[in-house]
């Protein structure tokens, strides 16, 4: 991977204000026409993504919201799925949202030509249910945890995220390793370079302290991740354990609906293919004496794993949306790591890397032959 270029900018009032400031300047200079940014809802008990054009509204932008209710990639896709349009848009999202956005672009679900993705060093997000319990209290807790980079109150998948500073978009705001009252701004593309240039930011400054801090955190998290996945594996692997794990699933498919990379308009598991006659159901029940109805709950989960784990970014939205508290995000993050390692692929790492299941390589045919020997 190429060495990242970046600069240092002042950040006196806090990272949220710094980002808003930067965006305002960019809008003033005509670099962006609109911004996708998290914002507090009127009742104050949630954060949503808003596409903002009005500068006055921009002041209410809330980057690094304490929760992730809608995955940012879904917001970007919603705005650009049907075309890039005429507006130049900045999307202020987290690294896993940026990665999912890249996956969606590869899947033809987002057009990033006019989008500048700006990501931020991410401390994780709070589980939705915790946050909703007391939004004000938890916002404060989040901000305190952010200061100390303490992940104990974050989503389980955030606690084991080793890609929380992964730069995959155009620009990245780095706070790790930054000197007091400053932060890093890192460019990852020509688009990013050009924004920096227009804002008079020198991108040839020393990023060593950010790099080393990010490396240390990511290595530590990687260790935690491997350990957590190993523990999880012992409780969920094998068909019996899987069936047990998903026994409480009520087939609401919330996990799939909130997943940023589950893009099918009509899921196979909601289609006519899985609907059978009463006689068929009865015959199946007779073979076992009793059959859960609806059947195929575990099959849905496994099917979804096969369909999207190559692109899973471990954001944990599925787990938060599960009404039965099944650790579906942790399970998917474990499977995703293995699926992606198989193809030496990291979801959302680069726009230029084709999705392995879409790309065809001749030698893979031999691998199949070998496997059958």
């Amino acid at each position: 991977m190429n060495e990242l270029k970046g600069g240092i900018i002042p950040s006196k009032t806090g990272i949220r204000e710094t980002i808003i400031d930067l965006i305002e300047k960019s809008v003033d200079k005509g670099i962006f026409d609109a911004v996708i940014i998290p914002m507090k809802v009127p009742s104050g008990d949630s954060f949503v993504y808003v596409l903002v054009k009005d500068k006055k509204l921009l002041k209410d932008g809330f980057p690094l919201a304490p929760t992730m209710l809608v995955q940012g990639a879904k917001a970007v896709s919603s705005v650009t799925r049907l075309g890039k349009g005429n507006m130049k848009i900045a999307a202020i999202i987290r690294p896993c949202e940026a990665r999912a956005t890249v996956e969606l672009a590869k899947l033809g679900q987002a057009d990033l030509d006019n989008v500048t993705i700006i990501s931020i060093d991410c401390p994780g997000v709070l589980p939705t249910s915790d946050f909703l319990e007391d939004p004000d209290k938890y916002l404060k807790k989040f901000d305190d945890a952010y200061k100390n980079w303490d992940d104990k109150i974050m989503r389980p998948v955030c606690q084991i995220c080793d890609k929380s500073s992964m730069v995959t978009g155009d620009l990245h705001i780095g706070t790790l390793g930054a000197k007091k009252d400053t932060c890093f701004i890192i460019s990852n593309s020509e688009k990013g370079d050009s924004v920096a240039e227009k804002l008079d930011i020198n991108l040839n400054q020393n990023l060593d302290s950010w790099n080393s801090k990010v490396k240390a955190i990511s290595e530590e998290k990687k260790k935690k991740r491997i350990k957590a996945h190993k523990e999880l594996k012992s409780t969920v692997s094998g068909l019996d354990n899987l069936v047990e794990t998903f026994s409480q699933c009520i087939n609401c498919h919330n996990c799939m609906r909130v997943c940023p990379v589950c893009i099918c308009r009509l899921c196979y598991f909601d289609s006519d293919k899985v609907k059978h006659t009463a006689e068929d159901y009865l015959t199946r029940a007779e073979s076992k004496g009793s059959m859960r109805f609806l059947p195929d709950t575990t099959l849905f989960q496994m099917g979804r794993m096969m369909h999207m784990s190559i692109s899973c970014v471990s954001c944990g939205n599925c787990e938060d949306a599960c009404s039965m508290d099944i650790p579906v995000g942790q399970i998917f993050s474990m499977i995703a790591d293995e699926t992606q390692a198989l193809f030496d692929y990291v979801s959302g790492r680069s726009l230029d890397e084709p999705i392995p299941l879409v790309a065809y390589k001749k030698e893979e045919l031999h691998q199949m032959e070998d496997a059958n020997d």
Binding site: A34, V41, P42, S43, D45, S46, V48, Y49, V50, L51, V52, K53, D54, K56, L69, V70, K74, A75, S78, V79, T80, L82, G83, G85, N86, M87, T128, S129, L132, V243, E244, S247, Q248, I250, N251, C252, H253, N254, R257, V258, R265, L266, D270, D272, T277, A278, E279, Y281, L282, A285, E286, G289, S290, R292, F293, L294, A321, S323, M324, D325
Partner: protein
Amino acid sequence: MTKALKLNKSAEEGILEFLKYLLESGKVKGVFTLKRISKNSAIAYSLITNPDELKDAVPFYPLMPVNAGKLMSRFTLKEGAKKPVAAILKPCELRGFIELIKREQGTLDNLYIISSICGGVFPSRTEVDRSAEKKLPKYWESVKKGEISPDLRSVCKACEEFIPYTADITFDLLGNNDIDKHSIFYLNTKKGEDLAKDMKGDFSEKEFDRKKLEKINEKRQAEKKKLYDEIGKKMNGIDGLVEIFGRCIGCHGCSKVCPICYCKLCEFESPDSEYSPSNYETELRKRGGIKVPPGTIYFHLGRLTHIGISCVACGQCNDVCPVDIPVADIFKKVGESIQKMFDYVPGKDVEEEIPLVSFKQEEFAEIEE
């Protein structure tokens, strides 16, 4: 007067004995009911064909993991049952199923419906935090006394439709102080009578204790008033709607679990609901900022319009909402007001047409006025 069968067994044992008899005698080939399905005792609807499997069945467990009306629709959607199957449904599940049948999403062919005078169910959360088991003794106490268990779903506490309308057999539960001693099956239809005919037990002519049930209804009405007052205050105008639905994450879980929402592709997930870049540009000129993905409140209002007439207020949507929006409370209140307008009780009678489908000439005049 209705024919009734009495077994000198507790409700729990009585219903299982009855189901066992049905399977063993071959009167039905399958029984559809709640069952413990795993080591961690998760409870799910199951189709049971082997009588031995009934040992794990818990027909009247106060949980509704899925609205079984939806499941019966799935069971009979492609083709009605060819062999007899008994299904144990709660009254609102049965009503949901009837509404789906009216929408050609299922049939009653060869189905024997057993329902109960229902004490309500716990929110699904209680299964997640494993507190359901602990709450059971208290639940059954309040069922016996005909009281409202404090652990019920909000819409169950406020439910006046706890007596099933179209069941072949109604099991006497709520307000029956003797459920530890006897099981009483009301045989409402010829089909119901045929099922029970050769069962060993006391047959008699019996009547529901209407007075007792009316008293229970009064308590439920008081709860309903409280619920409606509360939600009515919150739902005040478009600002109120923004407050309530503002945190909706657009997962559409509410529609997915709704027994009435049966569209394969929801309007709000279709291309018609997607914004093109120029739509966004136009909107932004008008209002400076727009939530993305857009259309949150529109979705809920749209769903209200589509299914309000048939909403059976089962509460599944409340349970499944990841951000705790009181969807069911709203749908119950609004649904009821729509239903009253047409003097319609969803799921009451399979022959009664859905008002929005049927056309009456005088309705024209009403609109003109």
